[in-house]
Symmetry: C2
Subunit: 256 residues, 2 copies
């Protein structure tokens, strides 16, 4: 049987290498939201190495994360302890539903005609809505349209099949292919390892792959695809694996 | 009291001079659809002069209309007789409803997302529909959407007020201002003249102003404006004046 940690790490690096700083944010965010514990530099190094990244790069990555206000660190003798900063934790909590929640679908979607010369118009979308641009003056918007600017022309699509060019744009924006790949990878994890570090690494890797994809995928595009979208199966697969691994144990953070 | 023929002719030439060939088509089309009679060159000359155009230009205009297949002419001694050709009459009949009918509104309208690189896409609209382009990939389409190309994204607008930029585009395409002006001009005709040539000239002028506007105005834009559009009042005013003048009399065509 293959090492599931390695399998997952390889699948996630297939297209681009994992970014160390980003993996650290995933890890410290996961720990921070569940227990507010610090993680020792020793554990982080071991974890990073287990995942297949260079622990030598840790010092620089931690330094930058601290400089940019993402983490707070303290030393106790020769050991450093790290935790997400309160402002970074707030950002993690802002996308809590999307990453950890049971579902993140927006209800309903509309076609939107944008006024001429409305550059970056979708930035004006109110909270609880999302939009995907099809062309300069044409977008699809999902969620409660109440706060949508008055000078947008809204219309509800009928029941015709989506034209290919719309479907292609939406499938792309909803990261269908990547969700399907991640689902297959996550489902390929069969027997779980026993060692705390292995379980921790598996949890961080699965969460990292899911988190970066869930935050990249466009919720409006997902709403247009509806119940058939690949994101739903992927969310289920990731949450199931995390449930099998169980929540973060304090012992995982102390080991190494 | 002012001469109503002159008033109407001046109002119609306010923005651009009347085109002689176009006035002849209006006149011969009107005669052709009601009685299939020919009109003598003498009557046409008198009519054209009464309207305020140069009768000297008649020969060239008639020659060109004949060359381009719009009219058929024959001579009887020194007098020429002219009528619209069958193919031109067909074109007049094709827009009969729009010009002479009680109403020409299309039912319902939708917002349409056009595929990328769909140049002149609105040329693909099936009969019984019309479209107005708002921007490169965004249009409004009125009429039965059944035959609309499959790769157009259709959506029915909700009950929000039309955004200003949409309303402005639609008001412009529906010739609101011009219809309102023509309505006022037509309504300013009070007492009708008795002389056959005067009545004929008034009928041709009113019809000509109405016809060129009705054929220029975008039916999709009119459908979007709905029951408040200026076209409706203008149609009523023109049809009322034409009813007051009565149908074309054979005697009008023989006089001069």
């Amino acid at each position: 049987m293959r090492d599931p940690v390695r399998t997952l790490a390889e699948a996630l690096t297939e297209e681009a290498p994992l970014k160390l700083w980003s993996v650290l944010v995933t890890c410290l965010g996961d720990v921070g939201r569940s227990s507010r514990e610090e993680v020792s530099g020793l554990v982080l190094s071991a974890l990073v190495e287990r995942i297949g990244l260079q622990p030598q790069a840790m010092r620089v990555a931690l330094h930058r994360l601290k400089r940019d206000g993402w983490i707070e660190s303290r030393r106790d003798g020769r050991v450093g302890y790290h935790a997400l900063s309160p402002s970074a934790l707030k950002q993690v909590q802002a996308v809590e539903d999307r990453v950890y929640g049971p579902a993140a679908g927006l209800d309903g979607w509309q076609m939107v005609g944008l006024p001429p010369d409305a550059q970056d118009a979708l930035l004006l979308l109110p909270e609880g809505t999302a939009g995907v641009l099809l062309s300069r003056n044409l977008a699809l918007v999902a969620g409660n349209p109440e706060g949508v600017p008055d000078d947008w022309l809204l219309a509800v699509p009928g029941d015709r099949v989506l034209p290919d060019w719309v479907r292609a744009a939406v499938v792309d924006a909803a990261c269908e292919e990547d969700f399907a790949k991640l689902t297959a990878t996550i489902r390929s994890v069969e027997a779980l390892p026993e060692a705390p570090l292995d379980r921790f690494a598996l949890r961080v890797l699965a969460l990292h792959g899911w988190r970066r994809l869930a935050l990249r995928s466009n919720p409006a595009a997902e709403a247009v695809l509806g119940e058939d979208r690949a994101e739903i199966a992927c969310r289920a697969a990731v949450h199931e694996l995390m449930a099998r691994l169980g929540p973060i144990q304090t012992s995982w953070l102390r080991a190494a």
